[in-house]
């Protein structure tokens, strides 16, 4: 019997269901409903005192963005906060929503930093926050700059090298990550393990130019490249990497970059070691390196008068031969450049007696517009 009564009651309740649902939506405590349901700021009672500020794009806007309702709502309220220079907890919470919608909005980030200071927020918590954001959006300028500011305020770099290593494990060439890493290392003098870190990265990918750059960074700021033992070690390292991967431009660039200030011909035996490699590990980079050695030798020969004119002519001949080989056959994409270098070198070191050299004169190419059309 009670069941029937209950049924009658439930029928009554069902008829009133619509009213009940309305009542539910008007319940002040929003957590009675799904607490994760997103509510627009315009519908939040604790924001009712603030008048949202619509964006002033003017009467005839250009490059209009199709904002979502959520985006417009958040930013209308952000603009209101900015206008009132409000420095409250709720403002701080809103910046997270604004950032989530556009992490490149540097105005919001700046405001968040102002609030972090004004509200004496827990910066360790902020570190967790920025860690997550960077993991999601590692190629954004603002997030890395924000992290740097927080690290500076905390004066605590203890998490940085590990964090950056993690980001680099996902993209070993992320420019922002390397920039942050160099800043941390230099600011807090964390040089000790970095060469090892670099070597591990090069072990994983010997073609990682960012890692080669970091190698140069560490050494130039620690031992420097003046110590002959260091230079010999680095030359050895380069040549080993070149033997493993002969067409790795980074290794060749590093070899040259390390030695160019003192001059490539200042390193005894290096030319010979490279000439050895030429037979089995040749590449356009090896040939370019040889050219650079010869050019440097000419530079120095010119200063030492006791060198045989014959020797100078021979060095010049070898340099020009390489230019031509690169321009015509081995590195034709850079033909204009190698031919320029050849002309330049001949102009600088050559003289009238070089008429019997093997290299033919390279006249200016005279491709006309119509000829180039046929090339399509």
């Amino acid at each position: 019997m009670s069941d029937i009564e209950e049924t009658v009651e439930s029928v009554q309740v069902n008829e009133d269901k619509e009213f009940d649902v309305e009542v539910e939506e008007h319940i002040e405590d929003e957590f009675a409903v799904d607490p994760t349901r997103y509510i627009f700021y315009r519908d939040r009672k604790e924001w009712a005192d603030l008048e949202p500020v619509p964006q002033d794009d003017g009467p005839n806007p250009v490059v209009k963005i199709a904002y979502s309702e959520k985006f417009s709502d958040v930013y209308d309220y952000f603009r209101a906060l900015l206008k009132n220079d409000e420095k409250t907890e709720r403002a701080f919470a809103l910046t997270a929503d604004a950032i989530d919608l556009n992490a490149a909005n540097y105005t919001v980030w700046h405001y968040r930093r102002v609030l972090l200071q004004a509200l004496s927020k827990d910066l360790k918590e902020e570190m967790k926050y920025i860690t997550n954001i960077i993991e999601e959006q590692p190629k954004n300028y603002q997030v890395w700059h924000h992290r740097r500011m927080v690290v500076e305020w905390l004066n605590d770099p203890s998490e940085e090298l590990q964090f950056i290593a993690d980001i680099l494990s996902q993209d070993a060439k992320n420019y922002h990550a390397w920039q942050h890493r160099q800043w941390v290392i230099q600011e807090y003098k964390l040089w000790d393990n970095e060469l090892e870190f670099v070597e591990n990265l090069l072990e994983e990918d010997v073609r990682n130019n960012s890692a080669w750059n970091q190698r140069h960074f560490v050494i130039s700021h620690t031992t420097g490249f003046s110590d002959p033992a260091v230079v010999e070690r680095e030359i050895q390292y380069c040549l080993n990497q070149i033997r493993k991967a002969p067409h790795n431009e980074s290794a060749w660039n590093y070899l040259k970059g390390m030695l160019q200030d003192r001059g490539l011909s200042s390193q005894p035996g290096l030319l010979e070691r490279v000439l050895e490699l030429k037979e089995t590990h040749c590449s356009p980079y090896l040939l370019a390196f040889l050219f650079d050695c010869y050019e440097d030798a000419l530079e120095n020969i010119a200063q030492k008068e006791k060198v045989e004119e014959e020797e100078q002519k021979e060095t010049l001949r070898k340099a020009l031969e390489i230019c031509q080989l690169l321009a015509q056959e081995k590195d034709t994409i850079r033909k204009e450049y190698w031919e320029f270098l050849g002309r330049s070198l001949r102009n600088k070191y050559g003289n009238g007696t070089l008429s019997d050299e093997p290299m033919a004169e390279n006249p200016e190419p005279s491709i006309s517009a119509s000829q180039s059309q046929e090339a399509s």
Binding site: V62, F71, T107, H110, K173, N209, H216, N248, I333, F340
Partner: protein
């Protein structure tokens, strides 16, 4: 009529959208309707900050990147209405507010430093005639310290050489008249080595992938270096070609970087966007045009209709627009500012008038 909907991730880059689109249209020699031009002027006026400089959108803080983009966009429009949008005195205040004692500039107040900022500052200051040596004190040395062991320039000293940053640093030095202080030979070797022998396009860094946008950032360096070497007395420079494979770059752009429904892109498989459209077209223009007003030599791959307008390798707007802007602003006095690297401090007065503020 322009029914594109832009992504909200560009909400802090709207002057860039104006520049990318206007520059693309000028390269394509598409006239910009007067009404559109006027609308752009009014919009950019709303992006101008009351404290000077331009922001990513109305109500945002000023930032050197949208400032660069806005000034360039206004110079492309080139009407008096456009020029009049720029508050030169406030712009100078803004540049001082982001200047650092070591010669660098932050991108915005409370923001990050890298070599882009020097280029943005030098570009807008020179075009609008507010440039003084004092504003760029130490900037030359700071930029020079960005040239690294690879021969290219990095974003900040110590980092890897990168095409975008190399362009910014080099172009800034050209504006300051100091490009000869770079190791030009090392820079030349680095940039020519960035052209990919198979793809024909350019990579941004050694051992990374080709990307259509580097058609401008990297290839655009060759005209700058050509002129720099010429000024240094280099006698063996070609009189017809830049020192990169112009045809190969045009092939890469035309054959690999076009979206069949319009627009250009990074590499096949990527989606089109206005940034890549702007810089692929800019690079195509560089590859098509050698020389200057007096000596002009063209290499046009494909139909004559593929010919784009020439672009200025320093500012990346058409050379006529550069000349016109310079002529307009050089008639005005350089504003004077008394500031100590801090915003909101100092007074300002204009030479030739007696306004104090």
């Amino acid at each position: 009529h322009l029914c594109f909907s832009f992504s909200s991730c560009l909400d802090a880059s709207r002057p860039w959208l104006c520049f990318w689109i206007l520059h693309s249209l000028e390269l394509l020699q598409e006239p910009i309707p007067a009404a559109v031009a006027s609308d752009v002027c009014q919009f950019l006026a709303r992006c101008q900050s009351p404290t000077g400089g331009f922001a990513g959108g109305p109500g945002q803080h000023a930032h050197l990147a949208p400032t660069y983009a806005a000034v360039n966009a206004l110079c492309i429009i080139g009407t008096d209405e456009a020029y009049n949008v720029i508050d030169r005195e406030k712009l100078l205040d803004f540049l001082w507010s982001v200047k650092q004692p070591d010669g660098s500039f932050v991108m915005h107040v409370g923001g990050e430093v890298d070599v882009r900022s020097a280029y943005c500052a030098a570009s807008v200051a020179s075009l609008t005639n507010i440039l003084t040596p004092k504003l760029f004190e130490n900037t030359t040395n700071w930029i020079l310290s960005c040239q690294n062991w690879e021969g290219g320039l990095s974003g900040v000293p110590g980092l890897e050489a990168h095409g975008g940053y190399t362009f910014c640093g080099t172009a800034a030095l050209v504006i300051l008249g100091k490009e000869h202080m770079l190791d030009l030979k090392a820079l030349l070797r680095w940039v020519v080595s960035r052209q990919m022998r198979f793809e024909g396009g350019f990579q941004g860094r050694c051992n990374k992938l080709v990307d259509g946008c580097y058609s401008f950032w990297q290839a655009g360096l060759l005209p700058l270096l050509h002129r720099a070497l010429y000024k240094e007395g280099e006698s063996e420079l070609s009189q017809q070609r830049w020192m990169f494979e112009q045809q190969a770059l045009q092939e890469y752009i035309l054959l690999c970087c076009q979206n069949p429904t319009g627009g250009l892109l990074d590499k096949p498989g990527k989606s089109r966007d206005f940034y890549h459209t702007c810089y692929c077209l800019s690079g195509l223009s560089i590859a098509q045009h050698f020389g200057n007003m007096d000596n002009h030599y063209e290499v046009i791959l494909g139909k004559e209709e593929n010919r784009l307008a020439p672009t200025h390798p320093v500012y990346n707007i058409c050379p006529e627009k550069v000349a016109q802007a310079l002529q307009h602003f050089l008639r005005m006095p350089v504003p004077e500012v008394m500031l100590n690297f801090a915003p909101n401090k100092g007074q300002r007065f204009c030479k030739g008038s007696l306004t104090f503020s």
